[in-house]
Symmetry: D2
Subunit: 306 residues, 4 copies
Amino acid sequence: MALQDILDRIAAAMAGTTDRGTVATYIPELARIDPGQFGIAVALDDGRVLSAGDAAVPFSIQSVSKVFMLAIALGRLGDGLWTRVGREPSGQAFNSILQLEMEKGHPRNPFINAGAIVVTDAVLAGRMPREVLAELLGFLRAASGDPGIHINEAVARSETATGFLNVALANFMRAHGNMQNPPERSLGVYFHQCAVEMTCVQLALAGRFLAGLPVSPPMLSQARVRRINALMMMCGHYDASGEFAYRVGLPGKSGVGGGILAVAPGRASVAVWSPGLNSRGSSKLGTEAMERLARETGWSVFGGAS
Amino acid sequence: MALQDILDRIAAAMAGTTDRGTVATYIPELARIDPGQFGIAVALDDGRVLSAGDAAVPFSIQSVSKVFMLAIALGRLGDGLWTRVGREPSGQAFNSILQLEMEKGHPRNPFINAGAIVVTDAVLAGRMPREVLAELLGFLRAASGDPGIHINEAVARSETATGFLNVALANFMRAHGNMQNPPERSLGVYFHQCAVEMTCVQLALAGRFLAGLPVSPPMLSQARVRRINALMMMCGHYDASGEFAYRVGLPGKSGVGGGILAVAPGRASVAVWSPGLNSRGSSKLGTEAMERLARETGWSVFGGAS
Amino acid sequence: MALQDILDRIAAAMAGTTDRGTVATYIPELARIDPGQFGIAVALDDGRVLSAGDAAVPFSIQSVSKVFMLAIALGRLGDGLWTRVGREPSGQAFNSILQLEMEKGHPRNPFINAGAIVVTDAVLAGRMPREVLAELLGFLRAASGDPGIHINEAVARSETATGFLNVALANFMRAHGNMQNPPERSLGVYFHQCAVEMTCVQLALAGRFLAGLPVSPPMLSQARVRRINALMMMCGHYDASGEFAYRVGLPGKSGVGGGILAVAPGRASVAVWSPGLNSRGSSKLGTEAMERLARETGWSVFGGAS
Amino acid sequence: MALQDILDRIAAAMAGTTDRGTVATYIPELARIDPGQFGIAVALDDGRVLSAGDAAVPFSIQSVSKVFMLAIALGRLGDGLWTRVGREPSGQAFNSILQLEMEKGHPRNPFINAGAIVVTDAVLAGRMPREVLAELLGFLRAASGDPGIHINEAVARSETATGFLNVALANFMRAHGNMQNPPERSLGVYFHQCAVEMTCVQLALAGRFLAGLPVSPPMLSQARVRRINALMMMCGHYDASGEFAYRVGLPGKSGVGGGILAVAPGRASVAVWSPGLNSRGSSKLGTEAMERLARETGWSVFGGAS
């Protein structure tokens, strides 16, 4: 079947699904999103971008931003970053502080909240918060080739007003000497990076460098890209990363805004979005769509179609 | 460079390495192995098997056996197995009982000891232990095409005499209702499966079905193979699985005997062996050899060579 | 009010209570006990023993036996015992293995199961199990002045057949080098000591040495008695020890057989029994009776009546 | 021996001790204190106050303040307080966040930092911070009969500037809905209450109501006093509470300023101070002095002298 047909069928199937998960409510601005939406976009190695459903509707990328901030951090600091954050799955929920105590303020990986806050703190490095946010937007615009990507200030304010757990994580790491900047400054950047808005098409385009597609602008060495992909595979969905690997078999990163970015190395960059979440905090329909796409294309990195 | 040359260079480099890690001492029979050995073998999709170093020396496969017992369990029970064991990285050491208590006797995945004991218990299912061991040897001999694979009884006795932690794990799960057979019976099988001896060549041949190589005898559906590969990627090296994914980028499984099996889907099945272990309980030189092989072949599932 | 009147009223109130908790079911022999029973006995400093209710009915003392085995261990080993077991509340349930892993097989205190198994193992010290059990019975008979105390073999067998969690704890400690004897031997003694049967009157008499009553036979130095009392206060009721201190204010030890021994230093030794347990594994009516007795006598060590 | 002689000998012995522990350094203002100081004071039931050493030197009471704020909270809220904080030993360090996560923001007891912050938050209840601090000083002045007790503002500022772990704890509980006031407001009060300065004489006088001495002004019902004493016994020294009960046998509360308040119900209120801490964060010489005093007076609640 042609890929466009696969995408159309997936979008049609999702449109007919009634059990769509639950929209995240702990960030008030996100709680208002209409759960009836679904979009998917695939950027291919020949430069084409196929899409279906609400692939042109902007959504809050939330934790998907952690991938891009990590790319910036690796570009700036190289392997020095790994003195401050680990590279192992945490076996705990995304916002767990337990592991952080047992390991003295050293987060297990860059995709749990604590680890992502450390990455942002490392990129900030005494600069002005707005400088770092400009760098992030610049990176996203360059990677996607789309200058229209921006931050939703209302969402950023909403996160700042309710992010007590992240304040706890940052201060806990500060107490253990693992924050360079005042916690509230790094958190300010972090809350804004989560509030970046992108469409599925923009996100799929921005992910091309992770898939190693020749049509992507050069963003990072291939050695580093491989490592970011490894981290997405191992830790991209918190304590449901094993499940995503088992069902989909592609490196990916989810966000509580309902977006997921996944990468089929050498083949494609895929973005899906549907706001309703499953019990583990990832898009319910988005995960199902990814599973179906991987099965029908045979793109799993763990072996071809039967 | 030709693959045989790559293997020869790796074997030569390893022969010249003085920091070879530490041979496992908690199983007395393993403590006597000469740490100066190193072997590597690669089974390719065209039927060739290339090797270098001590690739024809039998060693104790230990936890690598968990992969084959899992394959047998999935063949026998299908997805019913997953009611008794999870599919997520544990974030803990291979023999941790902590997670088991927090999750009421349900092990996080089939590759930590507790999970592997449950898998063996599920395959045993009231049968005679020797029947299950015959089934395992039959599977290994069929997959490798080599009838010479056997169990080292001295090693099995040694494990039985010192495996107090595994006795603790099995009884803990029994107390939580997650053992079907008397703990000592399932442990009897488990201690024997760990004592299977294979050479690198035999192990690489036996792993061909996981790489989906057409030259492999049919052992399991491709859908199940993909899932075993996903589990090896996520959990194959305990709390160093992230590190292996980051450095090597191939699904793999290590054992305290110093063996590692890794799979490049569609391309090759690789076995390395060197008895000295790193601080995480995996072969030190074996891991380094895998990293170098993946880098020089571009076989990482996370993206090609730069 | 005279003490006998207080006891009579308590017994009458308990007889009229319908919510009597739940009889322990995990030891089949205990599950058959009639939950309608309640007894209380108080041994005073003038030699009198007052009682009410079913104070002459024998019951399984279970974990209350840990106090007496600890007394024997301190008499035999002195402070050397504390290299193998701690003296702090565990903050966990009585059978938790989590703390044991975090502290490498060193149990937090002698009253959680793991700690009590270590104490028994230390008393066993290579001797025959029946020798140690004879020593325990001798101690109890001497302390109470009653030669009729014995072990219920059916209960001991029942515990042996179902004690998987204790088998796990003992083997876990063995793996960490904190068992001197083969786990099954020390467990054999442990399962039998829990199966000692006593009446409330016998138990109150046996506890006189802990209250420092002059009418007690000399069993242990007063310095050691104070320390056992401190341990009972801090750890005698597992993760409900704080609650017992808060409500009752006396050092005490409960057992899943429904018995509780408590001590008012210099004044009295008190035993209550009622088989129904609260959610924390202590006798529901027994705890209520202790609270009422302490309030009406002003015996709390934390301050007199208002 | 007369009590004054006992105190003089203890002070003399402490003056001659060279191993005095380590002054807390994480609060810069405390790090400057001369570790050579030692004071002890005992308030008796006949109104006398005996003392020795530096008993008239003011020191930072730190966590000892938690006892008085708890007394105020119980007076204001009664048992309603216990919906927000538990009454069990935590089995963890004073500043652990691990237990807080496992129990969803409900601290184990009012004497670990998280619990004390909740108590302060409950007393604050929307009022102005300075009102609550005035209430605390009023309570301390009334209980001790000494109007000279005050807060050291430099210490309070020092704590505010470095208390990242407490900021983490408060925000973590806020995220779980267990803070009534903005975290920074309750923390403001908390940092100031820890900075109260008192001498040993003042502290012993202020503690008389806990000992139930008739010479104390009436501060709280005897039933509540018993319960505060029970909590001090069980949780007054964090994960060294068992050790204090075992060695001293009196309800007590330590602070990182080197002060300890202990209570012999019906007999005396005792305060000691020496700035050097042991590995568990309590005054090293203070603990030794308490142990010696309890032994020589026979005041242990767990039984008289041998």
